[in-house]
């Protein structure tokens, strides 16, 4: 009798867990969790711990006891200015990539000849990667590159423009690598909007601008916010291009360069972690702000199938 009771008890525990969705299938999640915990959460917490173990030199120079690294981050203009420099690059770049993608995606949404070729061309920069883009920009847009030569030849300018090794060079690089990414995302959001909605608007007498403004844009807005966030993340962590086509000690002295300088050149892991963490914090502020705005926008279905 007690055996039966026991069986019932375990059965009912299993039932209770099953009712909340807990059963053996959850074991499939374990490898993924192990990877995330061992390679992300643990090092991250370790890094946070490191930031409050500043080197003796740091404590001596900046004071603040165990928070010396943070004191250094906020009071050393050479380091702290990199926050503004990074934002000055990442925000306009992300904004441009998203805003430029919308009309392009709208046009490419329709079927026409050579669409696949054009799409492939837009996706091409993904294969180039930042390093090759940098090398190409240096040659193509350099003082003696084809771009300046052409502009000189047709008489638009009198002397070569300085297009690389400065802010502009990095911006070019961010657009070339970031635009295709934004375009792909926005295209897929756009394809999720039921075309019959626009046709319905057309039958109700809406012109193309009204259709875009009143129908497509509101439905696309959450997607735009998401795309902005992801493009911003890409642009924010700009590292190779800032070094290679930028002015690494001047106007493109971005946070990741500072972090790497502390890590690779000064071997000050504590300070490097501090800068890296502050980088995450700055980015998080922007992301949360944008996602907060997004949650105010329309979030329902976009009428697409599924």
């Amino acid at each position: 009798m007690s055996g039966v009771g026991q069986q019932r008890a375990t059965a009912s525990l299993r039932h209770r867990l099953a009712e909340r969705g807990v059963d053996a299938a959850l074991l499939l999640l374990v490898p993924g969790l192990v990877v995330a915990l061992a390679l992300f959460v643990y090092p991250f917490s370790y890094g946070i711990g490191l930031t409050i173990q500043p080197t003796a030199a740091m404590q001596e120079q900046w004071g603040g006891g165990i928070f010396a690294n943070y004191v250094a981050f906020f009071s050393d203009p050479f380091v702290f200015d990199s926050v503004g420099l990074t934002m000055r690059l990442a925000l306009p770049a992300a904004l441009f990539n998203v805003l430029a993608s919308v009309p392009v995606a709208m046009v490419l949404r329709h079927r026409f000849r050579g669409k696949r070729l054009l799409t492939s061309l837009l996706v091409l920069p993904i294969t180039l990667g930042t390093v090759l883009t940098a090398q190409g920009l240096l040659i193509f847009a350099g003082r003696q590159g084809w771009l300046n030569r052409t502009l000189l030849e047709i008489g638009l300018i009198d002397e070569p423009l300085q297009l690389v090794n400065n802010y502009l060079g990095v911006m070019f690089s961010l657009v070339i690598t970031g635009f295709p990414f934004a375009f792909l995302l926005i295209s897929s959001y756009l394809s999720g909007i039921d075309p019959s909605l626009e046709q319905a608007a057309k039958t109700l007498g809406a012109g193309w601008w009204q259709r875009f403004r009143r129908i497509v844009l509101p439905l696309l807005a959450p997607g735009l916010a998401t795309t902005f966030v992801l493009t911003f993340v890409l642009a924010f962590s700009v590292f190779p291009s800032a070094r290679l086509v930028g002015d690494a000690m001047g106007e493109t002295r971005v946070m990741s360069l500072m972090a790497f300088r502390a890590f690779g050149e000064q071997n000050d892991y504590a300070m490097a972690s501090t800068i890296a963490l502050m980088m995450g914090a700055v980015e998080l502020i922007v992301v949360v702000a944008v996602l907060g705005l997004r949650s105010l926008l329309y979030r329902g279905t976009t009428g697409g199938k599924g």
Partner: protein
């Protein structure tokens, strides 16, 4: 769709011309960059002229020897394949659970997988690299593979979860009602249905891993550098960097590798239709 095809909006409006002008400019930049590197890599000498004086393929041989590119390419491909295999094996089962189950703490788990994708790689890369060095893994292949898993596993999970959600769960129930055990449901029913999604995710992870610079750079060293890192080191090495043509040759090799992979990839999936294709599969 038929209506919009007939409408031919392409030639109609000034806004459309504006878009085409912008895209032409983008195309010119893109082709200019690509051609400049290719031409440079075959150039004997190229300073103050439109084209190099004389062409040669010597730069490739020279770069190949100087940077031990045989080994570097081997490392690049090897690391990429390993990362792909591990991320798929780890990511797909997790994606399955997230797509099919509701359980306490699901949102927290989702957030955990979302964070590495949303964070700048340097932010977790530096603490991670520090841990790698303190475990004596610095500059090893193991470390390169491990750091690449951090963004790749969540990437597979985040792309596969919606893919799996779109497969009708009743299909799995039907298999069970036909007497299939859990393992058979996975091997006979789910695996074949998931192949297109897994292929797409795997290709994207492959391309990302080959192109990922920041994380690899932090933990790699001689013998474990991938192509991108080798190019970066070539461009920034002390003394103003290596001869430009050598770097260009190396970049062309990199692009060729990437292009081959992407062409293969595009034979399987059209990236803009990734979402749509899944839907079509389900409509069947």
């Amino acid at each position: 769709m038929a209506a919009s095809t007939l409408e031919r909006p392409l030639a109609a409006r000034p806004s459309t011309w504006f878009v085409w002008a912008g895209m032409t400019a983008f195309g010119v930049f893109l082709l200019g960059i690509l051609l400049a590197v290719v031409v440079d890599s075959f150039g004997r000498q190229w300073f103050d002229t439109w084209f190099p004086e004389g062409l040669t393929t010597e730069r490739y041989a020279e770069a190949w020897d100087r940077f031990a590119l045989g080994e570097v390419v081997g490392v690049t491909v090897g690391v990429a394949l390993l990362v792909v295999v591990i991320s798929v094996l780890v990511g797909v089962p997790a994606a399955y659970v997230l797509a099919r189950r509701d359980f306490p703490g699901k949102r927290a788990v989702m957030l955990l997988f979302l964070l590495p994708v949303l964070m700048p790689p340097i932010t977790y890369g530096i603490p991670l690299a520090t841990v790698m060095y303190s475990f004596g893994l610095g500059r090893t292949l193991t470390a390169v593979v491990l750091v690449n898993l951090v963004p790749s596993v969540p990437f597979v999970i985040l792309t596969m979860t919606p893919f799996i959600e779109q497969i009708n769960p009743a299909i799995e129930s039907a298999a069970r009602m036909c007497g299939a055990r859990t393992r058979q449901v996975f091997t006979r029913i789910l695996a074949p249905l998931l192949v297109p999604g897994i292929l797409a995710a795997a290709i994207l992870v492959l391309v990302r891993t080959v192109g990922l610079f920041e994380l690899t750079f932090l933990v790699s060293g001689p013998g474990s550098d991938t192509l991108v890192v080798a190019i970066y080191r070539g461009m920034t090495s002390a003394g103003g960097g290596e001869a430009r043509q050598l770097i260009s040759a190396m970049s062309v090799i990199y692009t060729a590798t990437m292009l081959v992979m992407l062409v293969v990839a595009l034979r399987f999936v059209n990236p803009t239709q990734l979402v749509a294709q899944v839907k079509e599969t389900r409509d069947d």
